[in-house]
């Protein structure tokens, strides 16, 4: 099982990639939300978390999308993209359920992106 490892001077966070649902920006910090609903605040900007994911997963990081300035999501858990309501729901359809908001433009792009995956059979 692959893990994302975030190592700081006094702390090491090790999250299984498949259990990482999304990361949200909190000013200069980021919240990592895992499948069990737990949230972990890390002293990194969202861009730095994005770099760590890209560095550690390389091409396999494609499951993760950066949505605007405040979100990184795991595409495996996209359940609903509602452009009109500016709503994005991430769920594993078992019990983990997160309702997020994003800009209309980014949700349109997300919808198009997921549709393109379906067409190319990449999903």
């Amino acid at each position: 099982m692959k893990h994302i490892i975030i190592s700081k001077s006094t702390e090491l966070l090790r999250v299984p990639v498949d259990y990482m649902m999304y990361v949200s920006s909190d000013g200069n910090y980021s919240n990592i939300i895992t499948l069990d609903g737990r949230s972990r605040l890390v002293c990194l900007q969202l861009g730095q978390v994005e770099d760590i994911i890209a560095e550690q997963l390389g091409d396999n990081g494609g499951n993760f999308l950066r949505l605007g300035r405040s979100l990184i999501i795991n595409t495996n858990y996209i359940y609903l993209v509602d452009v009109a309501k500016q709503q994005l729901i991430l769920s594993d359809c078992k019990g983990s359920w997160h309702e997020l908001t994003a800009s209309r433009e980014v949700l349109i792009k997300l919808k198009t992106y997921i549709e393109s995956l379906k067409l190319t059979g990449n999903e």
């Binding site: 700081k8 001077s9 006094t10 702390e11 909190d26 000013g27 200069n28 910090y29 605040l41 890390v42 002293c43 990194l44 900007q45 969202l46 861009g47 730095q48 994005e50 770099d51 994911i53 890209a54 560095e55 997963l57 390389g58 091409d59 396999n60 990081g61 494609g62 993760f64 999308l65 950066r66 949505l67 605007g68 300035r69 405040s70 990184i72 800009s103 209309r104 433009e105 980014v106 792009k109 997300l110 992106y113």
Partner: protein, 296 residues
């Protein structure tokens, strides 16, 4: 790494990892360019320096008078503690001193035998366990909430970085510092500690410039040779002049506290209650304070 954060707009979507190959290539290219430039500089430097070194190879003698002309690092005197620590009775009080640095008269407050913490809401002046209190983090004008990251007894109350200075109180230990990201925020949340952000004034003995140029009564919490002191200007001063005075006062690290006519009081050695500034009417819900209380 930070740069990338700003390279995305709110309406943009980016697939993570796809550009990593091209990024790594460009990084590699940059790396080799750097090595090439460094090599050229080294070659040029060698050509210039070599002929001179052959003339300067004479061995310096022990009693060579020129040896005394070699500039040596200035040895500064060790910092003397400001406070009076002769009282061993363990009674909590605040020592008040006055110093003038660069023609700037300063009030200096040193809490003794007390433990620091943060609080939200106006402290009770009747609470005799409080021996020093002054306002800590700023309040946002737009929503009345605390500006910058703030942890109260382990509970994060506000997030974000608007100012680089920070103060953490963890296990009764105060750390005054300057950093974009500090693990002390997380440590404070884990250990039931306290954390807030404010303007940085002095970082490792070096003045930190700040944007506001107006003059006002300035306050700061300072680490001076390991001694935590609160310094307040008696007259309105600019950030620069106040910070320079702190540097010249040999403060290692200093972080601003809410200045101007912000509320504060202390109790002296004789249990006299002294108000630093009177409480204004009204105030904000999230008005917060750093206070020193009798340790129990």
């Amino acid at each position: 790494m930070n740069k990338r954060t700003d390279e995305i707009r709110d309406d943009e979507l980016r697939v993570i990892g796809q550009s990593s190959k091209s990024n790594s290539c460009s990084k590699l290219l940059k790396k080799y360019w750097f090595v090439a430039v460094l090599a050229i500089i080294l070659v040029i430097a060698t050509i210039i320096i070599l002929p001179h070194t052959s003339h300067n190879e004479s061995v310096q003698e022990v009693f060579d008078p020129s040896a005394s002309l070699v500039p040596c690092e200035e040895v500064s005197e060790p910092i003397q503690l400001l406070g009076d620590y002769s009282d061993t009775s363990g009674v909590a009080y605040t020592e008040h001193l006055q110093h003038t640095i660069n023609d700037i008269p300063l009030d200096i407050y040193i809490p003794h035998n007390a433990v620091a913490s943060l609080s939200i809401g106006t402290p009770d002046i009747k609470d005799k366990s409080i021996i020093f209190v002054t306002q800590a983090a700023d309040i946002r004008a737009d929503n009345g909430k605390i500006n910058g990251a703030f942890v109260l007894a382990g509970e994060p109350m506000a997030w974000g970085l608007s100012k680089k200075g920070f103060v953490s109180i963890i296990d009764n230990k105060i750390i005054v510092g300057v950093a974009d990201n500090s693990p002390l925020f997380e440590e404070a949340t884990e250990k039931g500690g306290y954390f807030f952000r404010q303007y940085a004034l002095v970082n490792n003995g070096v003045l930190v410039e700040n944007e506001p140029k107006n003059k006002s009564i300035r306050k700061a919490i300072c680490d001076r040779g390991g001694e935590i002191i609160i310094v307040m200007s008696q007259n309105p001063e600019s950030f620069h002049d106040f910070a320079q005075a702190l540097v010249d006062f040999r403060v290692d690290n200093a972080v601003y506290l809410v200045g101007s006519d912000s509320y504060g009081f202390y109790r002296d050695k004789y249990d006299h209650f002294v108000q630093i500034c009177e409480k204004r009417r009204g105030g904000y819900k999230y008005e917060n304070y750093i206070e020193w209380k009798v340790s129990r």
